[in-house]
Amino acid sequence: MIYHQILVVGGGLAGMRAAIEAWETAGKGGQRTDVAILSRVHPVRSHSGAAQGGVNASFANAEGAKDDNPEKHAFDTVKGGDYLGDQDAIEVMALEAVPCVSELEHWGAPFSRTPEGKIAQRPFGGAGYPRTCYSADKTGHIMLHTLFEQTTKRQIKTYSEWMAVTLVRAGGRCVGVIAMDLLTGRLEAFRADAVIFATGGIGRLYQKTSNAIINTGYGMALAYWAGVPLEDMEFVQFHPTTLVGTNLLISEAARGEGGYLYNALGERFMKNYAPELMELAPRDITARAEQTEIDEGRGFDNIYIQLDLRHLGRAKIEERLPGIRELSISYVGVDPVEKPIPIQPGQHYTMGGIDCNVAGETALPGFFAAGECACVSVHGANRLGGNSLLETIVFGKLAGRGAMEYILGKQGGPTEEKEMEAALSQAEAKVAKLIKGNGTEDLPTIRKEMESTMTDNVGVFREKAQIQKAVDKVRELKDRYKRGRVKYAGRTFNQELVRGLELEGMLDVAECVSLGAVVREESRGSHFRIDFRKRDDEKWLKHTLAYCTPEGPRLDYRPVAITKYPPVERKY
């Protein structure tokens, strides 16, 4: 059995930032904290690295942004989230933005620069000022590498290519995780005084997603199974500009730098949806506008819209948007210097997640969450571009600190080795059943059916009968999963087994998403019901909480924290 004081599950931005914070904070007797990271892929392979456009912080560095401040950042975030975000948490994020981004710069993060040498900032959707700090269109990549450099410098123990399969609770608190070494297939018990999850989003529930192969929401499922509620899971972001075919991300920076969206009639159709902000309307509004154009026959080939950058000129595209130029050339054979890029909405981000507070604390003592897998909630019903990278470094840091405070205040109790061993045997039995059972259902088929069900029925536009169809289908798939089998029995790097295990969690999370969506009879942010087109603050200004029961999710609700910004109609 392995032991660490703090075990961070997930080696992306939030996870590494949490580990660094725990390491920096002295433990009992002034000693370094024994903190380790456990990650399903090597940390630099994490999906944080695919973020492009930037990270929001009100430095007020840009021309015309001299009046920007954390309060304005907070307000834009509240409004962007259609008033579902907890305003006390949003204020914390906006206040911590400049210090946290500065800290990253001090660690060497190579941001692009203004002519005076300050961090460069660009306009982004739903923001009143150019507030998004960037490094060309590779901001996630440079931030991820910077944090990996810092964990390397501190020699923080990292278990690369290990996948957590159980979150273990005993005596009413979290005592560790069971994880599988992917290179050997061995299961191992990791006892820890505190566990932090930073396991990312749920993109792979959908057929059309910008997300990496690894974004299966499995971490959320582990928390859910351990009795921690998932919050606001029906709020799923669809990014307006994903590449046709692969749905790889084409950054909002493309529009921030001045790109236009055109329908097949050659109209800049955003004038009909957000006349003031045009292409820089928040993502939910822009994605719905595009889907409407496509659905009403004004798309190209009935599936896509064009993103035109040609008027920006070669020099600007090469300097500010080299990454998306490379993506566009290699995946659709279109050089944006010469031709418009074919794009469509695609699943991109999970506003919901493991219910936690600003310190990452969850309902389970000793268990913390941060980053996309968590729901603090700062994004409310729709996340603004540039706020996800910010969330990872602010709340990663605060979760690291929260876990430290927890272990420092903790009385030396029993070590729960017995419970850990029982959980280890259970996990071994689960793997054995998948591999050696006599099931007949083909798991990849179940997975494909889930992906298309979610994309077709719980997408940009939603309607009762359709979502109900998804709920029913997911339940049918859950039932079939029980008769599923992994055919390859080897232990070394068994991807079929990994995908088979993950599928169980994906189906449960899909059930939370679709059930939350069918019950919420209003339209708010990313959740748009064509049968309930208005926001309904009287009935629905509240967070959804999904609890795991043997019969499926039990839904409960909690009021939204409102501080300075009473809900008003959202117009752009």
Binding site: V41, H42, V44, R45, H47, G49, A50, F59, V98, V101, S102, H106, W107, G108, P110, F111, S112, R113, P115, E116, G117, K118, I119, A120, A136, K138, H141, I142, H145, E149, Q150, T152, K153, L183, A212, I213, I214, G245, T246, L248, L249, G323, E326, L327, S330, Y331, V332, P444, R447, V486, K487, Y488, G490, R491, T492, F493, N494, Q495, E496, R499
Partner: protein
Amino acid sequence: MAPDTAIFKIQRFDPEVDKLSYFQSYTVRLRRGMTVLEGLFDILDQEDGSLAFRASCRGAVCGSDAMYINGALRLACNTAIAPLLPQDITISPLPYMRVIKDLVVDQDPFWAAYERIKPYLINPQTAPERERYQSAKDRKHIDEMLDCILCAACYASCPMTWSDEVWLGPAAILKAYRFNGDTRDKGQRERLKVLDNENGIWRCHTVFNCAEACPKNINVTWSIEALKRQAIINRLKFWRR
């Protein structure tokens, strides 16, 4: 008419059963714009669950899936199948690295080299409350090196890797230049101690394999040469004192 299938010939090795590696053929049904990585996933899901390969972002930014495809080091995710046809798609793992299983290689020596060059900003001065200033021109100087995704294609392409186990390799040296060339960094001397020896920069014979292999089109060799110049200037300064 474009063909509707392609033959994938994949080098297989399962340490639990095989003594030697061998090639296995699969027929992959093609879709428009299909990549080699998508083909590998189709094989995994539909035909052979035992196939092992690494993948994550599928957008050429995470560096998981560098492999040897039809005679060149490439990322499976941004290699389209169509231009390779009518040839078979022949795939082996990164050469000269220990194979763990199929296309998955042991990258520990690669990461060990990375750690040795002190791959982090060194600057003992107290940082200001907000950002340090850096001119746009100085920032631009390291632009190309920042694109590195640590996929190890260059490492596997280098003839020195094949013969010298303690050779740092192109990627680690590129990373060293990313810092030694950054005006905010004060660790040049420290890093040169690791670099300025026969297993460091001087082991490079400038055959440019790394530059050719790089899927991000980074001229890795240029950085190695720049560090050789830095090392010489550093030694001249030392003698003058």
